[in-house]
């Protein structure tokens, strides 16, 4: 039976990158459609009328929205290859807890770093680095957050690696200096084809951020 899998994407979006990684880990063939967020496609508006945001996964005509919801959906639908969540209920709970921490604390802290300046930026930077340190503590000496296997928490966090240079340049700090183990983990993840193919070049993201800053200043 022919499967139709479409990913509505925006290349700098770390949320969309999560879905790309999950699909590629599972070896799912999909149609990657790049959105112009200033001119959203009729498909995007129809498939995500509530938020009108990417990523959206359209599987045989049915939409799934919100990146972590999509990643779980992918894990539950394509079960034969590369399980992203472990099978034990407690380990699954830990994975979901840490993915939630990445989502609600880390990404929201990162989002405050690059557009701010002066004292506000110093506060935002401190909060962001603190989050990374907590995550580094949780990673410990493991290869991946779940242990030996690449999984759900890695998928939720690693897209942020493509934004590291942009964040470092705008707030004058070095993630490698603050959290060397975390950077080593990110580079380990980048050796996986799914991650390498889904993350854009850090300099490209940096240039995108500069453009975005210009637009914000102009408003």
């Amino acid at each position: 039976m022919a499967e139709e899998v479409i990913l509505l994407d925006f290349w700098p979006s770390p949320f969309a990158m999560r879905v790309g990684i999950a699909l590629r880990e599972k070896g799912v063939e999909f149609d990657l459609r790049e959105e112009d967020l200033s001119n959203k496609s009729p498909l995007l508006l129809k498939m995500n009328p509530v938020h009108k945001k990417v990523p959206v996964l359209v599987h045989n005509g049915k939409p799934v929205c919100e990146s972590l919801v999509i990643v779980e959906y992918i894990d539950e639908t394509w079960v034969r290859r590369c399980p992203l969540l472990p099978s034990d209920p407690y380990e699954r709970a830990c994975a979901r807890f840490w993915a939630d921490y990445v989502e609600t604390k880390t990404y929201s802290a990162a989002r405050k770093v690059w557009p701010s300046t002066g004292e506000a930026q110093e506060v935002a930077k401190k909060e962001f680095i603190e989050c990374l340190k907590v995550l580094e503590g949780e990673l410990g000496d493991k290869a991946y957050f779940g242990g030996e296997r690449f999984g759900y928490v890695d998928v939720s966090l690693v897209p942020l690696y493509s934004w590291f240079y942009a964040l470092e340049a705008s707030a004058n700090f070095s993630v490698a200096e603050e959290c060397p183990k975390l950077v080593a983990w990110a580079k380990r993840c980048m050796q996986r084809e799914s991650v390498a193919k889904s993350l854009p070049d850090q300099y490209k993201v940096y240039e995108y951020m500069l453009e975005l800053k210009k637009k914000i200043r102009a408003q």
Binding site: V50, Y73, E76, Y90, R92
Partner: protein
């Protein structure tokens, strides 16, 4: 002595979700109450160092935090046979339930809390507008169904289960109206059906305690209810 314990506060809408889930599964549990006048307990700080928040489920001493994570843990650990399912089996339906649970918490709940705390009249008006828009989406989800999960309650009903008992109080102390029966007839009917369920009703904190606690939190800082 119960192997399952929940670190709770007497009035938290997040904690009551966990009690409901355990009762649906027929599981015995013990409540460990935080006394906010004494500050956060050692047990809480040790069990949830990342957020230092309730609820925390202790399963034979092992801690699980974040209410929606706990609900899924309960559903996955105690499943099959006669055990009550919280989430549906089908991946598409599961994704829908998770999506709406996230939406309901982010937009309906925090939208309502934001509107409740807003002091400035214009700010309050805008916040109420936004909350009403989010409730419109929820109304569409319940239209034509007795409960969000269908004929019986499920995960999403538990997550939005704060509405029948907590919303009226937030409206009162916040000087606003959100759940209008005329504007949201299906949601209004769902609310009435939901609180009539005995195991739901028996976990609800007394109204006056809730009014006192929410008024206090509202006046001190815009925080989680």
């Amino acid at each position: 002595m119960a192997k399952l314990k929940i670190i709770v506060s007497a009035t938290s809408l997040f904690c009551v979700r966990i009690e409901w889930a355990l009762k649906l599964k027929g599981l015995e549990y013990e409540l460990i109450f935080e006394d906010w006048s004494k500050g956060k307990s050692e047990l809480l700080l040790k069990s949830n160092p990342a957020h230092k928040k309730i609820p925390v489920l202790l399963d034979d001493g092992v801690a699980i935090a974040e209410s929606k994570v706990i609900l899924e843990y309960i559903d996955e650990k105690w499943k099959g046979g006669d055990l009550y399912p919280l989430l549906p089996q089908d991946p598409c339906e599961r994704a829908q339930a998770r999506f709406w649970a996230q939406f309901a918490d982010d937009k309906c709940l925090f939208g309502t809390w934001g509107a409740c705390c807003a002091e400035d009249a214009l700010e309050k008006e805008k916040a109420v507008e936004a909350a009403l828009e989010s409730f419109t989406y929820l109304e569409k989800q319940i239209e034509g169904k007795k409960f969000f999960a269908g004929d019986k309650i499920g995960y999403l009903d538990l997550v939005v289960g704060w509405i029948p008992h907590w919303l009226g109080i937030l409206e009162e102390i916040g000087g606003m109206k959100i759940l209008d029966a005329e504007r949201f007839p299906s949601l209004h009917e769902w609310a009435q059906n939901f609180v009539e369920i005995p195991l739901i009703k028996e976990c609800l904190p007394p109204r006056d305690k809730l009014v006192n606690r929410l008024s206090l939190v509202r006046s001190s800082a815009p925080n989680k209810p």
